[in-house]
Structures are given as structure tokens and as C-alpha cells.
């Protein structure tokens, strides 16, 4: 039953991912990606990471993808954003490369997992009562991972400044 639910979710996610790269219009790609992210959020819930599942929706679906849509629409008011994609050899090569990469990594991960009889590879492990809750996550971020956290905040600040500088119209 669980496996079935997971299979449905996962295959939907893969289809959505394929939709991102295969659909003709940028809007469709973005919508597929939104779908993919929502499915991922649900998958996070199945992994007991509720905080991150919700954060996934807030950050990716609620902010980043809206920003994408905003930019796509802004550009499409001024020109054609959907480029006509030519059918060239790159597509075939890229596809083959992707398949081979997936196969390589997959085999490489699957073989050791299959050969080791460790139980944690086949079933999720018992967890603490507050696994996935926001409190331990926040505690870890502000204590043990304080320096990386501050570094990331610096990065975000640079991102803000950079995007404002880029997006600002030059005043003549």
C-alpha cells in the first residue's frame, strides 16, 4: 500500500520533471516544476520532515517559482519568450548522456545497497519524537551550524544587492 502510494507520487514527480524539459512553452515548464515541487513537498512529509516540506512550499512554490512566472510573464509582454527549439543532434546526445549517467549512478548506488544486508537500507529507521519539528532544526541552525548559517545569510544579502543592481533601470 505504502509502496503503491510512493510509486504513484514518484512517477508523477518524474513525469513532472520530464515536463519541465520537454514542454514547448516556458510557462508550462514552470508549472510542471511547481507540480514537481509540490510532490516533493509531499514526499518530504512521507520522510517525516514536516518543517522542510512546508518550507519547500513556502520557498520554492511560494517565492522562487512565482518569481520565475513573474519574469516569464514580464518578458512575454515584451517579446516572445518561447524560443523555437530546433531538433538538433544535441538533444539526442544529451538524452543519451543523461540516460547513461542515470544508469551509471543508479547501478553504482544500487549494487552496494543490494549487497549489504543492513536493515536501514530497506526500511526507515526509528526516529525521535521531534524529528522533523522546527525546534531542533532552528536550534541546530543557531548553535552548531551558526557559522554556515551566517555565511548563507551573507550570501543572501549579496544576492539581494546584486539583483537590485542588475534590475535597476539606469537613470539618465
Amino acid at each position: 500500500m505504502n509502496l503503491l502510494v510512493f510509486a504513484v507520487l514518484a512517477s508523477a514527480a518524474v513525469l513532472a520533471a520530464l515536463g519541465v524539459i520537454l514542454s514547448k512553452s516556458a510557462i508550462r515548464s514552470a508549472l510542471s516544476l511547481v507540480l514537481n515541487f509540490m510532490l516533493l513537498a509531499i514526499l518530504y512529509f512521507t520522510l517525516h520532515s514536516e518543517t522542510l516540506g512546508v518550507l519547500q512550499v513556502v520557498v520554492y512554490t511560494g517565492a522562487i517559482m512565482v518569481l520565475f512566472l513573474f519574469v516569464i510573464m514580464l518578458l512575454s509582454t515584451q517579446g516572445n519568450i518561447n524560443l523555437t527549439e530546433s531538433r538538433d543532434v544535441k538533444k539526442i546526445v544529451g538524452g543519451l548522456a543523461g540516460i547513461s549517467l542515470a544508469a551509471l549512478i543508479g547501478v553504482q548506488i544500487y549494487l552496494p545497497l543490494a549487497s549489504v544486508p543492513a536493515p536501514q537500507f530497506h526500511a526507515p529507521q526509528p526516529i525521535g519524537p521531534s524529528y522533523g519539528a522546527p525546534e531542533p532544526l532552528g536550534l541546530a541552525l543557531f548553535t552548531r551550524y551558526g557559522y554556515p548559517f551566517e555565511t548563507v545569510s551573507l550570501l543572501l544579502m549579496i544576492g539581494i544587492v546584486g539583483s537590485i543592481m542588475l534590475a535597476k533601470r539606469r537613470v539618465r
Partner: protein, 116 residues
């Protein structure tokens, strides 16, 4: 989710990552390329979380299970990845807007002035 092996999540992660990588190569639209990068980042996030969930957890004898830093590591990484992705998108889309304003057209293959 009981009954699902780790390899299931990992397979999804790998597939998403590879689809993203292929997308970066085959698409000409830089916005879509950005989306593909986001896809790859999310694949990594999924892998982080599933490994975190499936890692062996060793409670001390006679203690009720509590969350410790060991449990949170994977989730912390995901938070960082999300923050980095947000910064990347903000700057990247800003660059796209600037390019569009300059050229009235966004095509990655047009942007080859840095050729040797």
C-alpha cells in the same frame, strides 16, 4: 513511510537529477535552464532527506529517543541549499532581465561574446 526502501527515494533523486542535467544541455531558453538547475538542487535535497531518514539511529540505552544534532544534519543541509537556490535565482533572473533589456531576446546560444 514504512515499506519503501531507501533505493526508491534515491532512484527518484537520481532520475530528477539526470533529467535536470539533460535539460540544461538541450534547452536554449535560459529560464528553463534555471529551472533545470533548481530541479537538480531539489534532487540533491531529496537525497539528503532520505539519507537522513534512513540513517541508523542509535538511542542510548534506557533513554527515550530524542532529536540530536546527528538527526538534524541532513535537514540543515537542505535549508542551506534552499537559501543558496533563492540567492541564485534572484541574481540569475536579474541577469536575465538585464540581458533581455539589452538584446530584446534571451537565447543562451546568442550569448557567446566570451568566445576565445
Amino acid at each position: 513511510m514504512t515499506g519503501v526502501p531507501l533505493i526508491g527515494y534515491l532512484a527518484l533523486s537520481i532520475l530528477m537529477f539526470c533529467i535536470g542535467a539533460v535539460g540544461v544541455v538541450i534547452r536554449r531558453n535560459p529560464i528553463v535552464i534555471f529551472m533545470c538547475i533548481e530541479l537538480m538542487l531539489n534532487a540533491a535535497n531529496l537525497a539528503f532527506l532520505s539519507f537522513a531518514r534512513y540513517q541508523p539511529w542509535k538511542p542510548a540505552v534506557g533513554q527515550i529517543p530524542t532529536v540530536n544534532a546527528y538527526d538534524v544534519r541532513g535537514q540543515v543541509m537542505v535549508v542551506f541549499v534552499m537559501a543558496v537556490a533563492a540567492a541564485e535565482v534572484a541574481v540569475g533572473l536579474g541577469i536575465l532581465m538585464a540581458i533581455f533589456r539589452l538584446r530584446d531576446r534571451v537565447d543562451v546560444d546568442d550569448l557567446n561574446t566570451l568566445s576565445g
